[in-house]
């Protein structure tokens, strides 16, 4: 039985003294795992499987964007130019900063520095909330311009751009209606991304509370590490949303 794992320390169950027999169950080494490393890898593996389903989920939205951008290119160009690059770029930097503090938080948990871990988790939360704040400002502007798809959607900026000081070619009325598809995808994709961030911030409050009790600064890092994977994944989604929605349509010729 060379492929079996057998503990070779003496089998003391029958003769055990109660004190010797007592199990010390650490959260980082539960009894159904052979070693801490094995438990850790299992947790990472499981987290990545979840993230793969998330890739497929967001992937569907990205594919819809890819297809409709090719079908209604002119409508996508003018409606994309409605988005603010400075706000989008600032939000990208804010989200990267949030991810940076999350990564530092994992480090702080690894080296068992409880105070630093709490600090980094709070900073991660602060930058996450700042991102959502800027997103709210952007959404509000779309609300005021009647650029939210539906019964109140207003195409006049796209059929008559000169009247609004825009230098784009006016769209025919049928193509102008297709800008609704851009804004639908814009709200669906950034909204789903923002929803993930809201969930993440909720989890951050919970993790910060637990970190303050010292739960993650005595060798049990998995919850921090796996939440970090989630938070970085949400960052990556935005790293693609930003160029696709804000950047690549600035030159109508392309």
């Amino acid at each position: 039985m060379d492929n079996a794992i057998v503990a070779t320390h003496p089998h003391t169950h029958e003769t055990a003294i109660a004190a010797e027999h007592e199990h010390v169950v650490l959260p980082q080494h539960r009894h159904h795992f052979e070693t801490q490393e094995q438990q850790r890898e299992a947790a990472t593996f499981g987290m990545w499987l979840f993230l793969l389903t998330e890739i497929m989920f967001f992937g569907g939205l990205f594919f819809a964007y890819l297809l409709y951008r090719n079908w209604y290119h002119d409508a996508f160009v003018v409606s994309s130019n409605q988005l603010s690059i400075p706000l989008g770029a600032a939000n990208t930097a804010i989200l990267i900063t949030s991810g940076f503090f999350m990564a530092l938080g994992v480090w702080a948990a690894e080296v068992k520095k409880q105070g630093l871990l709490v600090l980094f988790l709070v900073l991660t939360t602060v930058f996450g909330v700042a991102f959502l704040g800027i997103k709210a400002v952007e959404y509000h502007e779309k609300w005021e311009k009647h650029h939210i798809p539906g019964a109140s959607f207003d195409v006049s900026q796209f059929t008559n751009p000169q009247a609004y000081g825009l230098h784009e070619k006016p769209l025919a009325p049928d193509m102008a209606q297709k800008t609704q598809i851009f804004f639908f995808l814009y709200f669906a994709m950034t909204g789903m991304h923002a929803f993930h961030m809201v969930l993440g911030i909720g989890l951050l409050f919970w993790l910060t509370w637990r970190a303050r009790r010292g739960e993650f600064s005595a060798g049990y890092v998995a919850p921090i590490e796996n939440f970090g994977l989630y938070w970085h994944f949400v960052d990556i989604v935005w790293l693609f949303l930003f160029p696709l929605l804000y950047l690549i349509n600035r030159h109508p010729g392309s």
Partner: protein
């Protein structure tokens, strides 16, 4: 380890050492991500024709890979985790390619 009789080395087949990434590495990654964000914003204002979306997506992919390798520790993980991550992205690319070739070939020459 020594307390286990594990001749075929099931528990830790790669003799993986748990690797803690230092804040210095994270800071370098952070700087890289900010610099490339600046580059991609700058590139958006330059007319590169068909290359605009290609450059933007190439930079985004590069940033994503950096995040995955370092912030998400995949560079220091076991082969199982690396293969899992790679398989996920590969499957995603297959799905995109197959769906896109369906849509493109249905209106061949009309786009």
């Amino acid at each position: 380890m020594s307390e286990f009789h594990d001749p075929s080395n099931v528990i830790n087949p790669e003799h993986a050492d748990h690797h803690i990434i230092t804040p210095v590495t994270y800071a370098i990654v952070f700087g890289t991500l900010l610099v490339f964000t600046g580059i991609t914003v700058g590139a958006a204002y330059v007319d590169l024709g068909i290359l605009n979306p290609i450059v933007a997506l190439a930079i985004a992919s590069f940033k994503a890979v950096v995040v995955i390798l370092f912030f998400m520790h995949v560079k220091y993980q076991s082969h199982l985790i690396k293969l899992t991550v790679a398989a996920g992205f590969f499957t995603f690319l297959v799905l995109i390619t197959m769906t896109m070739s369906d849509y493109i070939s249905r209106a061949w020459g009309l786009w």
